[in-house]
């Protein structure tokens, strides 16, 4: 704990916070030769590490997409696993170039903490998980329960508000690390586990008997999860945001990892422009990237739908439905600005 915070202190007191001291994060990343991405290492589907040390997940794919956009090579990324508590100091101090760690975009994080959010790579909401044997059907029955929660999250704030506004009592049991919360819930220290609903699906699978636990229907908050960068570096901010938008646009255009080369020959001018095939287009260059930046992203991680299904959807153990994360023209919220 202390180390990372001290790093901020020293960083703040002596050297000036991170990138502000130099030209810009994009230039820094290019000069370094790799992207340093802050991620989760314990949340399968979003960011987790397998036994061989490989990272995988929806957030990981976003980091890879940014690396592909900048370098044309999705392997030029290094991951920094961060707990909920450590993630913000790590970004503030310049230890990482971007944060993609199931982080909720809130007003105070955007303003007070000095970050910038825009793209949302997963629309989520907070839920509750309980043991089946308790026979709970609704969160409104939870008065008097002991609730396990992770510190430094929006989760603990929503929890307090929800129970207060519904006049319910509860006993918070708070830990810093997710493993500790998992262990306490497993040991029967608390009746309820609360966090982002996607997280609950992922955590339930890691419990010894997933079928003994149910996720309650209530969603008590809005949790738009997305990448964050330090405020005041709009060039870098654009690169990160549009790496996500490129994945969404690709899905809209029907461009996939498999057909991207073929699609370059498409007669559709929007697709041609997007894939850098339009004569004289400077979109890539204006971002400070190469002409084929979007092609590189799609080759590396596929379109948004592919990444979704592979990591958290039907191609994964989580089997989460698209829901809010479907494209805007299919009833969801995923929407990319025109790439022109």
């Amino acid at each position: 704990m202390a180390n990372r915070i001290l790093a901020v202190l020293i960083g703040a007191a002596v050297m000036g916070i991170g990138a502000q001291a130099s030209a810009g994060t994009l230039e820094d990343v290019k000069a370094k030769g790799f992207l340093q991405c802050g991620v989760n290492a314990n949340l399968s589907g979003f960011g987790s590490q397998d036994s061989s040390g490989q990272f995988a997940g929806l957030d990981i794919d976003l980091c890879k997409a940014v690396a592909a956009a900048v370098f044309g090579d999705a392997t030029k990324v290094k991951f920094t696993p961060l707990s909920a508590k450590d993630r913000f100091p790590a970004l503030q101090s310049g230890e990482i170039d971007m944060l993609a760690r199931n982080t909720t975009w809130t007003a105070s994080r955007d303003s007070q903490l000095g970050f910038d959010f825009r793209a949302v790579n997963y629309y989520d909401g907070q839920g509750f998980m309980v043991r089946k044997e308790l026979n709970v059907k609704s969160a409104l029955e939870l008065s008097g329960a002991a609730v396990c929660v992770q510190t430094g999250t929006t989760t603990e704030l929503n929890l307090a508000d929800y129970f207060k506004s519904h006049n319910l009592q509860y006993n918070p049991v708070v830990f810093e690390k997710q493993e500790e919360v998992d262990a306490a819930y497993n040991a029967g220290r608390c009746d309820v586990y609360t966090t982002d609903q996607s997280g609950l699906y992922s955590i339930r699978l890691s419990l010894s008997n997933p079928d003994d636990h149910v996720i309650l229907p209530e969603i008590i908050s809005k949790e738009p999860l997305g990448p964050a960068v330090r405020q005041g570096d709009s060039k870098w901010f654009d690169v990160v945001s549009f790496s996500h938008y490129a994945m969404v646009a690709a899905e809209e255009f029907g461009i996939t990892q498999a057909n991207v080369e073929e699609m370059k020959k498409s007669p559709n001018p929007d697709i041609k422009r997007f894939l850098g095939e339009e004569q004289g287009s400077t979109i890539g260059a204006d971002f400070g990237l190469s002409k084929d930046w979007a092609v590189n992203i799609i080759k590396a991680v596929g379109n948004y739908g592919e990444a979704f299904e592979r990591n958290v959807g039907q191609g994964s153990p989580l089997k989460i439905k698209r829901g809010l994360n479907a494209l805007w023209n299919q009833g969801g919220l995923q929407y990319a600005p025109p790439i022109r």
Partner: protein, 407 residues
């Protein structure tokens, strides 16, 4: 400065320059200035850099709404309270576990330390094993161990609830148990003091004062006559019986808030949480192993002639230990004991590992929710330094009292 001296050619000034005490003050003032300048530089630099990162510095945020709840609060607290109040709750939790931990560690350490010197082979060995076991594990692991251990030893709450339900079904006159030990903690009937209870506190205070007075008088009598009135017996009797008598005379002005088995959890009554329990046990038993060694060293430091003289005079060995050896050993024990007390308080900041809401855990939460890393760390440093200084001052005073008084 030297040139100024040369210009007015004043001999006295020149000598002032070589006056050792003036020089000492000058150096001290210079040091203060340099340190002050460094701190000011660091602060203004940090503030400037924070501003560039679009963050602000200052303690104004402390009056903002906390927004989160805490598992254990010794004063009224809710998510509507301020950050400052949340920190105060954390501080009180730190002090609680610190004070209780110090008391327990001292008692256990004293017993184990004396036990290691015991002539009984088994006791001596067991005490050695205790010391070596606890002393060689990092405190964080000890805390983890106790938390996992406490949680897995304590029976599951749901099982207990099921048992009670069953008993109730069989016999409707059965109520909820008064004491419940489960993985939700140890719950007990919490006393609620009724208006008349003040008299009992006054009686207790009077009894304590009376006991002190009697003991002082007994000391005087013993010094004069060699015979000691039964001071201990009288004191205990006074402290127990007087408040008890007043309590009954006032019509037992006390009620109890009994724990109730709810659908999920316990409500009502007092509760010692597993988080507090495991942290308290871990800190006390860990520190006790160091205190045991200090006690052993202290006792060994008393010349063996003292003990031999006692036996030659026919003083029983337990009395010799209590009246002759320990008072002398205290002089060796107290200074290192102080550092163990300070260690215990500082180690309590590892409470995060057991989910106990101490000053550091609460501060961490605030730091994360508000982004005020520098301010929160500054508060931590000030608070811990203050607690440590107060502890040191007290122990130094105690040490001075115990020091050898030449007559």
């Amino acid at each position: 400065m030297a040139s100024a001296d040369a210009r007015d050619g004043d001999g006295r000034r020149a000598s002032l320059l070589y006056d050792p005490s003036v020089r000492a003050y000058a150096y001290q003032a210079l040091t203060v200035l340099v340190v002050g300048w460094l701190i000011w530089q660091a602060w203004s630099n940090a503030a400037e850099n924070l501003a560039r990162a679009n963050m602000t510095a200052g303690f104004g945020f402390l009056s903002g709404r906390a927004g989160f709840d805490l598992g254990q609060a010794l004063m009224a607290y809710s998510s509507d309270s301020t950050f400052a109040r949340a920190l105060t709750v954390g501080l009180l939790n730190t002090l609680l576990v610190g004070v209780l931990g110090i008391i327990t560690a001292t008692i256990v350490g004293l017993l184990i330390g004396i036990g290691r010197l015991s002539k009984n082979w088994l006791i001596a060995r067991l005490c050695t094993i205790y010391v070596e076991l606890f002393r060689n594990i990092p405190p964080l692991l000890v805390i983890f161990f106790w938390y996992k251990g406490v949680l897995s030893i304590l029976p599951d709450f749901r099982a207990i609830r099921a048992g009670v339900e069953q008993a109730k079904a069989a016999d409707p006159s059965v109520g909820d148990p008064l004491f419940i030990i489960s993985n939700r903690g140890i719950s007990f009937p919490a006393p609620i003091f009724q208006p008349g209870f003040g008299a009992v506190w006054i009686a207790l205070a009077a009894a304590v004062l009376g006991a002190i007075g009697f003991t002082l008088w007994a000391n005087k009598v013993q010094a004069a006559t060699g015979k000691r009135p039964p001071a201990l017996l009288v004191s205990v009797a006074l402290i127990v019986l007087l408040p008890l008598a007043v309590f009954f005379a006032a019509g037992q002005p006390i009620a109890f808030d009994y724990p109730v088995l709810g659908r999920f959890n316990l409500s009502g009554g007092g509760l010692i949480s597993p988080e507090f329990l495991s942290l308290y046990l871990a800190l006390s038993l860990y520190t006790a192993s160091f205190i045991a060694e200090i006690v052993r060293a202290g006792i060994r430091g008393v010349p063996s002639g003292q003990f031999e003289a006692c036996s030659a005079l026919g003083v029983r060995s337990d009395r010799a230990m209590r009246l002759v050896i320990l008072p002398q050993a205290m002089r060796i024990i107290i200074p290192p004991l102080t550092s163990q007390y300070l260690n215990l308080i500082k180690n309590s900041s590892l409470a995060v590992a057991a989910g106990y809401p101490d000053l550091v855990q609460v501060g961490n939460t605030i730091l994360n929710q508000s982004g005020r890393a520098i301010e929160v760390i500054a508060i931590w440093m000030i608070v811990y330094v203050t607690i440590s200084l107060v502890t040191s001052v007290f122990m130094n005073w105690f040490n001075a009292r115990m020091a050898l008084r030449e007559r």
